[in-house]
Structure formats: structure tokens, C-alpha cells
């Protein structure tokens, strides 16, 4: 059991004495980590290498050269075409998550450099309605590809999504077709489309553009699959094997190219781009 000194100097059991905001418990190994240290370690547990989920802004910091990332297509705003209400109004959910994350929807798109190589990119933010894909997400991905075709840039999409945004009904389903259509268009220019899948990537995102990268890279132990584990368990009435639908499992089954730790991703992307982009 982990013991540590709290602020007032008294020895206490870790679990009870985490001072708000300064320490965080690793969900994987239960280590209590000093937040500043976790940040220095790119939100990866120094003890067990658990990759914490990070938001889109933080990923931009990690991946792109400092100050190089310019956001694009920020004027595309979500609409409630079906006037959808479940336990809450969809309009209210959008407002709440916008306030919570400072984003207009579940992705940030833009252009930046990775070790001076220009790329167009879209990054998912799981904190905005579980990174779900509705019309704004689909449109921004489409625009990213379109922009990359015009400017002759490689595309990288960093996914983290529970799948389709059900509150947009059939329109969310159509985003699967829309994003795949742009993957198809992008082959006109012989440039790489790299898909980076992070925890979790499931449903309509996994079953569309995210699985069609020329190269697919996953973060360690990310959950990646079509159906969520609970749905599968309910369907087949048996518990799932250890590690099922995790990055390591997908690599073993030939579904992804590689697993890359967060600290190495920038360098791996740079090396891939150096090889695949013909100057």
C-alpha cells in the first residue's frame, strides 16, 4: 500500500489524502502520481506506462512544433437538425460540452509542422460528447482532406471516439460514408494519410476513415474495435479474454501497423513522413 506525506506532514493512506488537483491516481496500477510529473511524462504513468486520455489541445502540444499549429474551419458549428431530445436536449448537451471543453465540437482541425514537415490534421477530443462523430466532425475531416489535396500536404487524423453521434440520427451514420469518400478522393494525390488511433476508438469512427489509413498507428493498450466490449458480452453471453480489442491484440491480428508510445509518436511520424513524402 502506498503511503506518502500529505501537506500537513501527517502520514496517511494515499487513497484518503489526495489533495485536490495536485495528485492523480493511475487507473491502471493505482500509483499516486504528482500531476506535474505526469505532465512532464506526457500524461503517461511513470510506473506502469498507462497512457492517460488527453485532450486535443494537449496532443497538439505533444505532436506539433511549438506554435506551428494553426486551427482551420473553426466557423463550422453544430446544428440540431432532428430537434433531438433524450434525457436532455441535444442543444443543451452541445452548449454544456462546449463550455466544458472550450471547443465548438469534438475535433480540432488545422495545419502544423512536425519537425518542420507541413501536415494537415484533425484531432479528436473525447471530452466533447465522447468524441462522437456528427456533421461537424465529418465536415472538418472532409475539409482537412480537401485542404491537403489543394496544398499537397499529408494528412494525419488522431482518433478518440465512441462512434457515431446518435443525437444526429441518420446524419451521423452518413458521416461514415462522407469521410470514406474523402479518403477515396485523397488518393488522387500520392501523399500519405496516417491514422493514429488512441483510447478509445470504436463504432462508426473505427468502421470508417480510421481503419483506412495508409499506415495505422496505435497508442499502447488503446481500446479499438467495432462494437464496444459490453455489447459483445451481452450478445455472446461470455466474458471477453484479457487484452481483447486492445492495441496489442490488434497488432497481433494484423489490424494495425505498429504501437508507438506517446513519447515516441512525434519522431515516428517524422520518420514516416520523411520516407513517404516525395519532395
Amino acid at each position: 500500500m502506498l503511503l506518502f506525506k500529505s501537506k500537513n506532514g501527517k502520514k496517511e493512506q494515499g487513497k484518503l489524502a489526495i489533495p485536490e488537483g495536485l495528485w492523480i491516481k493511475c487507473p491502471s496500477c493505482s500509483e499516486i502520481i504528482y500531476k506535474k510529473e505526469l505532465e512532464r511524462n506526457l500524461e503517461v504513468c511513470p510506473k506502469c506506462n498507462y497512457h492517460f486520455r488527453i485532450n486535443a489541445d494537449r496532443r497538439i502540444d505533444i505532436i506539433f512544433d511549438e506554435g506551428s499549429f494553426k486551427r482551420l474551419f473553426e466557423d463550422i458549428m453544430p446544428q440540431d437538425l432532428l430537434d433531438f431530445t433524450d434525457t436532455k436536449k441535444y442543444k443543451d448537451r452541445l452548449k454544456e460540452d462546449s463550455k466544458k471543453t472550450g471547443l465548438t465540437d469534438a475535433v480540432i482541425s488545422g495545419e502544423g509542422t512536425i519537425d518542420k514537415i507541413r501536415v494537415a490534421a484533425t484531432l479528436f477530443d473525447f471530452n466533447f460528447m465522447g468524441g462522437s462523430m456528427g456533421r461537424v466532425v465529418g465536415e472538418k475531416i472532409a475539409k482537412t482532406f480537401e485542404y491537403a489535396i489543394q496544398k499537397k500536404l499529408p494528412v494525419i487524423i488522431f482518433s478518440s471516439s465512441g462512434g457515431a453521434r446518435m443525437q444526429e440520427g441518420i446524419f451521423s451514420l452518413m458521416q461514415m460514408a462522407k469521410t470514406v469518400a474523402f479518403v477515396s478522393e485523397f488518393k488522387k494525390v500520392s501523399l500519405p494519410y496516417i491514422s493514429v488511433v488512441t483510447d478509445p476508438t470504436t463504432g462508426g469512427v473505427s468502421a470508417s476513415f480510421a481503419s483506412l489509413g495508409d499506415v495505422i498507428i496505435a497508442e499502447p493498450k488503446a481500446l479499438i474495435g467495432f462494437a464496444g466490449p459490453r455489447v459483445i458480452e451481452k450478445t455472446i453471453h461470455q466474458s471477453l479474454p484479457e487484452g481483447f480489442q486492445r492495441s496489442e491484440y490488434l497488432l497481433e491480428h494484423g489490424m494495425i501497423d505498429m504501437i508507438v508510445e506517446r513519447k515516441d509518436i512525434k519522431n515516428t511520424l517524422k520518420n514516416l513522413l520523411l520516407l513517404l513524402v516525395n519532395e
Binding site: L81, L82, F84, T85, D86, T87, R135, G138, A142, A164, M166, Q167, E168, G169, I170, F171, S172, L173, M174, Q175, M176, A177, K178, V180, A181, F182, V183, S184, E185, G203, G204, S206, A207, S208, F209, A210, S211, L212, I224, G225, F226, A227, V231, I232, T235, I236, L240, P241, F244, Q245, H253, G254, M255
Partner: protein, 319 residues
Amino acid sequence: MALQYLDFEKPIIELDQKIEELKTFNLSGITNVDDEIKNLEAKRDKLIKDIFKNIGNWQITQLSRHPLRPYTLDYIELITENFIELHGDRLFMDDKAVVGGFCFIKDSSGGYRQRVLIVGHQKGRNTKDKMCRNFGMPHPEGYRKAQRLFKLAEKYSIPIVTLIDTPGAYPGLGAEERGQSEAIAKTIYTLLDVKVPVLSIIIGEGGSGGALAFGVGNKVLMLEYSVYSVISPEGCASILYKDVSKTEEASNSLKLTAKDLYGLKVIDGIIPEPLGGAHKNKVLASDNIRKAIIENLGYLKKYDGETLRNDRIRKFTEY
């Protein structure tokens, strides 16, 4: 027999049974009851009309899953000639939840000259058949078989007709292990990309990504009482409403009927069904589908392959 009626169809049972009885009686030839039969039939048809006039989204969802509803192979049997089914994905196995093959379809002159590839989801009728077809829920192999056939159709410049009828792609261990996501994504990619006409028709349940994989045609049509949705009303009620009793409400919110989706400009047309639904008159339902295929392929065949491919890309980038 009573099990084959939906709840809202139940008022029809009594009249159906009386008509059946009289028909048997008529065969015995003792007394002529033709008039009585006609009377009852008119009465029954009016009753059906009244019931169907006020039919809601949840009733339509039930009709789309009706145990007697015609499935892909029923339509193939009724509207095609020389159907040759092709099997297997050449990678792992033959998935019986998806059927596909080349055939001739009866054209407007009554002859069989129009070649097509038909690929569709296939549900089973009895328990054994249902298991064999996995309730119309494909594994990755079903989608990979479809991709293989789509490319063959392209090779021979044969138009593609997809018939959609699935609760969804199968959420199982083997399906995930063998890349269900990749299989669906690649099928969408392939069907968007082929340089031949593609016509997609939702004939029953259009369940989520497993349905969309076959749904990226130049034209997308729906049978009058079919549904198409990102999630089932049951799933939506349980996940979003956190209350399974809200299924009917969810079916309304999802706007999943042919009429809803035509209004939202998500589909290009509605194929009418016979009075009481496709299961009441398979021959008529089939002929309506046949006419829709001939009409739409007639239009699409005027364009070259590259134009058709670009038309699909443009169509689906507009959502």
C-alpha cells in the same frame, strides 16, 4: 399462425380466419359462398387501410422485421432469371448472412436482358435457418465477399443492386478478431469507388454501419415499411434515454422511416408496398422493386463509370 401477426395486425386475424374457413367450405362445392367471401375481403381490406393510415414509426419498425417479410432471396427468386450465387471471401469462409450473385432481371419489355449483380443481407425464416444466416448480421467475411463481388461486377461492367436488411454487423469475438471495422470501412470504400451504376434498396431493417456498408449507391431507395437508422430504437432508448420503455419515443426521434428520410433528403425514393405490407403480397412487392430497379438502372446506365463514381463521391460528401 397467430404468432405471425404483429399486435396492431391482430384485429385482422379474425376476418382472415373467417375468409379462410369460407374458402375451404367453398371447395367442398355444396353451397356457393363467393359473395360472402368478397364481402369479408372488402371489409378486411378497409380495416387494414384504416389501421395503416395511422401507423407510427414503431409499428413500421415492427413491420420491417415482420417474421413473414420477404428477404433478399425471396425477391431474387421472384424477379430474376438464371441467378448464380457466388460464395466466399477467398480469405477465411463463406458468410451466409450475405448473399450475392449475378443474374438477369426482367425488364420493361418482359424479357430478361438486364444483367445485374445483386448483393444483399439474408435473414433466416425458421430457427435453424436463422442461426445459419446469423439473423442477417454479417461477420467481416460477408463484407469481404461483397467487396470481391463488387470488383467482379466492375470488371464486367455489370450494374450493382444491393438489398439491405440487417439489424447490424455482428458484435462478436471472431468478428472483432478478424477486423469487423476494417471490413465495413473497406466495403464502403469499394462500393463508392466501382465504375458501374450502384443502386441501394433498403428492403427491411437498415441497421447502422452494417447496413451503410451496402448503402452508398448512386440512388438509395427504401421500401415503404423499411427503416434505416444509426441505432435501433431499443438501443437508443437504453443508451440515450436510459429507459427501455422509451423505445417507441426513440423510434420517433430517430426519424427512421422511408417517409421521414425522404423528407430529410437522405434517400432518393420510396418503393410502395402492397396493402398491409410486403408480406401480404410478395409478388406485388417484388414487382414494385423490379420496376424501381429497371427505371433507376435505365437512368444510371447513360453515364460512364468515372462519372458514376464521382457522382457517388459527390452525393455522400454532401451530408
